[in-house]
């Protein structure tokens, strides 16, 4: 399905946000406590804090679809009786604007994990209500390596794809959902006469030329095949690689493709609320059972995370890697250990 391109003067983007937020919830990358986060915007929000220049939000767009904490059910216990009092609340329709190509890919990764059989209905609900408006990366960072996973940051896939080229916002629906949103914004968006306006072509070229120069853009995935599972698993390099790991969950929590969660009960005194919350395979209690723990040291936990992303997940999902090269782990690890170092070390000599 080919959709046409629309344009809007950049200075009128405030109006665009206003129009979107009049009918749906709108989430934009905003500055909050010195960091950038996807935050809810409404008519009272000061749009000063909106930042579409900063490449990445601290947390990824995943939290809009798979929130850190989500209620599953509520119970009340009376004597021997247990009453199921409520389940999760429903989501209203929302738009996430300014999602980068890597985060958009990560949703594809999560889709396969959550929407298999049986389906995760809580995720499905959020996914069906959310419209993803992606934004091309005009200025990629040195920590970016999305091109390794064949992601094109110059032409990010989404329900709507957008570009900011000079003073113009270009807008192109990429799905039915996106076409619907576009229709609602009819009053503002101006259809372009050409299939691809000159400004857009130039911007894409410019972005691709920067991506070509990125220092991490040429990592090789050749080594990470399902057949190499045993060999990679047994690689003695894990010991050395995991040495600086302090077992915090930063990499997993900022990661747009990490999906692990825990289910917990909270006793309010009046009832019990059951919720799920993000969990991390880096934690020692992640796999602890009453009778023991199959992963007793940080080496094993560390290995699990990267093996899952580079080998286990692709083996289950037609070779799709569970990494989008966003580079958050590269910039956020307290001890500077990350996906790139793992790929370089295990991926063979061609990287050194």
């Amino acid at each position: 399905m080919e959709h046409r391109v629309y344009s809007l003067p950049k200075k009128r983007m405030g109006e665009l946000f206003g129009l979107i937020s009049s009918s749906r919830q709108l989430f934009l990358p905003m500055e909050k406590g010195g960091q950038f986060q996807f935050s809810r915007v409404d008519e009272h929000t000061d749009l000063e804090g909106v930042s579409l220049d900063r490449l990445l939000t601290a947390g990824s767009a995943k939290e809009l679809f798979f929130p850190q904490t989500q209620q599953i059910a509520a119970f009340r216990r009376r004597g021997k009786e247990i009453e199921l009092t409520s389940a999760e609340t429903l989501t209203s329709a929302f738009v996430a604007f300014g999602v980068r190509a890597c985060d958009a890919r990560s949703l594809e990764v999560l889709d396969r994990a959550f929407l298999g059989t049986p389906r995760d209905t809580m995720y499905e609900e959020k996914r069906s209500k959310g419209t993803v408006v992606t934004l091309a990366c005009n200025e990629p960072e040195e920590t970016c390596f999305c091109s390794v996973f064949s992601i094109d940051a110059a032409s990010p896939k989404g329900d709507v794809e957008t570009w900011i080229a000079g003073d113009t916002l270009y807008w192109r629906p990429g799905s039915e959902k996106g076409a619907e949103l576009t229709q609602e914004l009819d009053a503002l968006l101006d259809p372009c006469s050409e299939e691809e306006p000159e400004g857009l072509i130039q911007l894409k070229q410019q972005i691709r030329s920067i991506i070509g120069k990125l220092p991490l853009g040429r990592l090789s995935l050749e080594q990470f095949r399902p057949e190499a599972l045993q060999e990679l698993f047994d690689d003695p390099a894990w010991q050395k690689l995991s040495e600086p790991c302090i077992g915090c969950g930063t990499c997993t929590f900022v990661c747009p493709t990490c999906q692990c969660f825990d289910i917990r009960d909270f006793d309010t005194g009046e009832g019990v609320q059951r919720f799920r919350c993000w969990d991390s395979c880096m934690y020692s209690d992640f796999t602890t059972m009453a009778h023991g723990n199959p992963r007793t040291s940080q080496v094993e936990r560390f290995r699990q995370r990267f093996m899952h992303k580079l080998v286990y997940y692709p083996a289950n999902h037609d070779g799709l890697y569970s990494c989008a090269g966003c580079g958050r782990c590269v910039s956020k690890c307290p001890n500077s250990m990350n996906m790139v170092k793992v790929m370089k070390t295990l991926g063979g000599a061609q990287h050194v």
């Binding site: 960091q35 040195e142 920590t143 920067i210 929590f253 307290p334």
Partner: protein, 311 residues
């Protein structure tokens, strides 16, 4: 810095060559030029990967505590800000000083790469230093920046590097109204993602099992299901370190959400200093901390209620 960088590497080489230690805990160079990771070097031959420059902010003493079981002596490089936490870990028997070859190294302040990015510097390729200026070559051209503007928060409390008063920010916070403080912390703490980076990197957090990991403690929530959980986690974290925190600044450095945790730790230190005075070295050596000792003349908690300038 460049000079001391070479000196440190030379010292490291001598230690490993002479066999003064079996291994050396230092930093390993990363191709990014700034993302150096702590690493163990087992021989002089491995030292070509060794680096000591403006981007070696991490405190090695906690990793050292993890090497407690290792055979033979371990040499460790300690910057001024890391020494107190090393001493504390020795006092609390987390490090056996007999097994450690301690090397105090010079430091002229470490750069906070986040602060550089917050200045709008993107696509960093290489950072060089000339005088007190950083020259940053990026994908988007050459940039310059005065290094003192982008020092890690912890460096600002280091007398060797900065003349700033570390408690200034705490003082300013105290002067705000109660509601303003509440709103400040609500915004700051509610961004917490409970990744535990602050806890796991903290050299004084050395419990075998943290109460936040113990399912029987009743506080083992991993999520910020309610703002109270954020307040609770950070209060407990700060309080467990109260009287022991050495202001090494690791928690602030590692927080992926940029929460100004130093404002909490330094508040406790400031309170302790003002109310109980600094502990003597002798007391410290006896393992006494502000909360494990007392004096008959201590103030009554009502002094908190008598504070003015609130509401």
């Amino acid at each position: 810095m460049h000079n001391s960088s070479c000196t440190v590497k030379e010292t490291a080489r001598k230690i490993l060559e002479s066999g003064q230690a079996e291994r050396l805990l230092g930093w390993e160079q990363d191709s990014s030029g700034y993302n150096h990771a702590p690493a163990v070097f087992k021989s002089a031959g491995e030292l070509d990967r060794f680096i000591y420059d403006r981007f070696c902010g991490s405190n090695l003493s906690k990793l050292l505590a993890r090497l407690r079981e290792a055979e033979g002596r371990t040499a460790v490089l300690l910057k001024a800000c890391d020494r107190e936490s090393f001493n504390l870990l020795v006092r609390e028997h987390r490090i056996d000083p007999e097994q450690v070859h301690r090397v105090d190294i010079e430091c002229s302040g470490m750069v906070d790469i986040e602060k550089l990015r917050n200045k709008g510097i993107k696509g960093i390729r290489e950072i060089t230093e000339s005088g007190d200026e950083l020259h940053i070559s990026t994908l988007y051209g050459e940039k310059r920046c005065r290094s003192e503007e982008v020092l890690l928060e912890k460096c600002l409390s280091c007398p060797a590097v900065s003349s700033a008063d570390a408690f200034d920010a705490v003082g300013q916070m105290e002067e705000r109204s109660s509601l303003e403080r509440y709103e400040f912390w609500k915004e700051a703490l509610s961004t917490c993602i409970r990744c535990n980076a602050c806890r796991n990197s903290c050299p004084v957090c050395t419990c075998e099992q943290c109460i936040f990991d113990n399912p029987r403690s009743g506080t083992a929530g991993k999520a910020s299901a309610d703002f109270f959980e954020d307040q609770h986690f950070h209060l407990v974290r700060v309080f467990h370190a109260a009287g022991r925190c050495t202001d090494c600044g690791e928690c602030t450095r590692v927080c992926p959400q940029g929460i100004p945790l130093y404002l909490l730790n330094r508040k406790v230190i400031k309170d302790i200093n003002e109310l109980y005075g600094e502990l003597s070295l002798e007391d410290k050596e006896l393992g006494k901390g502000a909360l494990t000792s007392f004096s008959f003349q201590d103030a009554h908690p009502d002094i908190i209620r008598k504070r003015t300038g609130d509401q």
